[in-house]
Structure formats: structure tokens, C-alpha cells
Amino acid sequence: MDNASASMPVKPPTTPMLGATAQLSAVDGLQLGPRATADAKVHAPADNDVALIAAVRRGDAGSREALYHRFKRRVYALAVRIVGPIEAEEVSQEAFIRIFRGLEKFRGDAALATWIYRLAVNAALSHRSRRSTGPQPEADDDVDMQVGAEPVRGDAVLRVRIERALKRLPVGYRTVIVLHDVEGLEHEEIAQILGCHVGTSKSQLHKARARLREMLAADGITAAALENG
């Protein structure tokens, strides 16, 4: 089972394209406070990141591609889960262009991965804002297709159902649960990426899980199925 999420119908944007925080607030009514620098731990780039950044800045042959390969799956997976598989390639392309353009100005006061996630989330949310007035892909087509295309095993079906429920979450909840539970980021990093307080990230995550559990229950996924998944 791959690429099982797709775009959900979205509300028209109420604000012009801004940063991730403003966009989440606009779409979901999240109350994200000013960036919580006090409670967001700062992670400096690792040595290998520093070397890679320096190589890209010098224009070393192959350095851009090396950076791309290091982060491509994370950026693409995030894009798939925020905008859906159909538009994920376009969003990933935009995200990487922002990354390479911004690398000159990257000051290194956060981990490179965190900074890249931030740009990727912004690219995905900007894309959603731009496209929200246009026709949206049919929400469940790709999921159902994939269920049919794979040998039906219990865990595969369960993951498809989870992906389907994920994409029906409001984008603010979805972004946080994807960053934390799927991508494995800490709340401090998520707070940096979204420009919110750590507490806000935590509370959004727990709300997202509660909503996800309700959706799965409504979809007939029992606790036993989850535990055996």
C-alpha cells in the first residue's frame, strides 16, 4: 500500500497566502500563538549537514542532487499526505526549489531537516490555498484503486483505511499528526516548523488522534483490528 492519501475538499481560503501558521489558522481555525522560541529547543545542523550545505553553496558538482536524495522521501511523503498523491510531485518540486533558493540564507540556527520540513509544509499549504478554488480530485479513488490492486492482507487494508481517515482530517490536525506520528518529529521541531507553541502542537496532536480514532471506529475498524494490524 503506497500513496494512499489524497486531497480532501477544502474550504475556500480566507486569507492570502502567508506562512504555515496563518494558513493553518485560516483553514482550520487553529489558535496558534506567536512563535514560541522560549519553549522550542534549537537543534543546530549536524556536521554532515554543514558539509553538504557548504558544498551546495560552493556549487560543487552533484551536491544539490545529494541533498535532494537525502531529503526526497521525507519531502515527498509529507506532500503526499498534505495535498494528495496527484499533486505531490508538483509540491515537492516547489519545495525543493525553495530549499535551494533559500539555502544561501539558511543561518543554521535550526536543524537542516527542520528547516526543510518547514519549507515543505509551507509549499504544500500554499499549494492547497492556491488550488482550493479549483476542482478537487475525487477523494477516495486512489485509495480504493490501491486496495483492489494489492493482495488483500489484513494489515494492508488497515493501513489504507488509516490513510483514508488521515486525509479526511482537517489539514491542521493532519499536518501535526503526520509530522509527529508518521515522520517521527518531536513537538519542539513541529513548533519550529509551524511557528507555534509546543503546547499547541501537543494539543493539536491529541485532538487529531481522537478524531482519527472516531473516524476509524465509524469505518468499522475495531480496537482488535488495530492491535492485530
Binding site: 503526499v80 498523491p85 535551494f100 490513510e163 488521515l166 508518521v182 481522537a210 472516531e214
Partner: protein, 241 residues
């Protein structure tokens, strides 16, 4: 709410916070004590842990092989536009300088107190069509082309205003010839603008448009500077569109 559960003591959100260790110690202790005697909450906690485990196990999709070539191509395009940006602004700077020199010469040379004609209405500012483009770099380049075009238009408008004063001393035939020449230059500009509009992202259309602007600016500057000698602009050595 815990799906299917009857115990309402703790919400799923609070239990999720407990699972992650996000509750204050006192509340965490209370949840632990409650859950040890509550089958619903014990099941809900197991359910949540299983949910988190399953979400963490979701596949990480592999990007398509076309992604890197697309990014690389877009970056190269951007770098090409960056070079083009410099080469396009250079003539704008030269044009603006030429216009400024012409303005100074004409202002000093022309005798004061000449009758002022009403200025012809200025040509509407150029609007290079806003083509829906998904590439932000292309969009940025188009915006810069539009700015450059607007700079040329402003230079032309200033020179045109000076020419209107100068034309007062010309014969009707000279004014007619000037209008014809300017009309032809305007036709070239209009055609180039249409080409640029039809081919967003292709610099050829914009380069042709800017060449047409430069031609008109050079012609107007010569006419303003030399036209005081009764139609010198129309003599050999003057600019002929």
C-alpha cells in the same frame, strides 16, 4: 469521546496525552489509578497505543524518478532568467540614461515661453498578460519583465511629452510624418507585446518587445533633440523606424 466506551471520566485527548507522557505528574497518576480499575479506559489506552503504532508504520512513498530532473530543470531555468534579468535591465538603464540626457539637453536648448500644447493622452501602461503559471520562478521572471516594460513606457511617455512641445514649431506636414513614424513604431511594439503575451516563459518575445521600445526611445530622443531645426529628425542621420 472513546468510541464504543461508556466511561466518560477521561476523553480520548487526555488519554492520548497520557500515552505520550504529556500530562502533569498528578494527572498522569490519577489516570493510571483510574485505568487500573476501568476496563473501558484500559481498552481505550491499548487502542490508542495500537493506533499510534499503526500510524508510525505507514509506508513512506518513494518519489517518482521524474522529480529530480524536473527540479534540476527548474533550477537551470531560474539561473538562465537570473542572467537574462541582468541583460534586460542593462538596456533599461541605458535607455533611461539616454532619456535623461535628452531631457536635459532639450530643456536647456528649447527657448522658454513656447506655447504649450495639450499633451496627448499617454499610452496605457503595458500589461504583460498575467498568464497562469504554476512555476513560481517563471512567475517571478514574468513580473520582472513587466517591471522592465513599465520602465520603458515611462521613458517613452516623458520623451513624448517633450516632443509635443517641440511639435508646435513644426509644419502640419512634419507633424503628420512624425505621427506616421510613431504609428509604425507603435505597431511593432504592439506585435511584440502580443508575441510576449502568447509565449510566457520564452524570453524571445520579451527581448523583441524591449528592442522595439529601445527603437522608439532612440527615435523620440533624436526627434526631440534635433527636431527644433525644422524637421531634422526626418533628415539622413535621424532615426528611421
Amino acid at each position: 469521546m472513546k468510541p464504543g466506551a461508556t466511561c466518560k471520566t477521561y476523553t480520548t485527548e487526555r488519554l492520548s496525552a497520557f500515552v505520550d507522557g504529556d500530562l502533569p505528574p498528578a494527572e498522569a497518576g490519577a489516570v493510571r489509578a483510574h485505568a487500573s480499575g476501568c476496563a473501558d479506559c484500559t481498552a481505550a489506552l491499548a487502542d490508542l497505543r495500537a493506533l499510534v503504532t499503526n500510524v508510525r508504520a505507514l509506508d513512506v512513498p518513494e518519489p517518482p524518478p521524474t522529480l529530480w530532473p524536473a527540479i534540476e530543470g527548474a533550477l537551470h531555468r531560474r539561473e538562465r532568467f537570473a542572467w537574462l534579468k541582468i541583460s534586460l535591465w542593462r538596456p533599461v538603464g541605458i535607455g533611461a540614461l539616454a532619456g535623461a540626457v535628452a531631457v536635459v539637453l532639450v530643456t536647456v536648448a528649447l527657448p522658454a515661453g513656447r506655447a504649450r500644447w495639450n499633451r496627448e493622452p499617454a499610452a496605457p501602461p503595458v500589461q504583460i498578460a498575467a498568464t497562469p503559471v504554476s512555476d513560481p520562478l517563471l512567475h517571478e521572471a514574468e513580473a520582472e519583465f513587466a517591471q522592465a516594460a513599465a520602465a520603458y513606457e515611462r521613458s517613452i511617455e516623458k520623451l513624448r511629452g517633450l516632443l509635443v512641445r517641440e511639435e508646435a514649431r513644426w509644419s502640419p506636414q512634419e507633424r503628420t510624418r512624425m505621427a506616421e513614424r510613431l504609428g509604425r513604431l507603435d505597431d511593432v511594439i504592439a506585435r511584440s507585446r502580443e508575441l510576449a503575451r502568447r509565449t510566457p516563459g520564452d524570453s524571445a518575445g520579451n527581448e523583441q518587445l524591449f528592442a522595439a521600445y529601445q527603437q522608439k526611445i532612440a527615435f523620440l530622443a533624436a526627434a526631440v533633440h534635433r527636431g527644433g531645426e525644422s524637421g531634422e529628425w526626418d533628415k539622413p542621420g535621424g532615426h528611421r523606424p
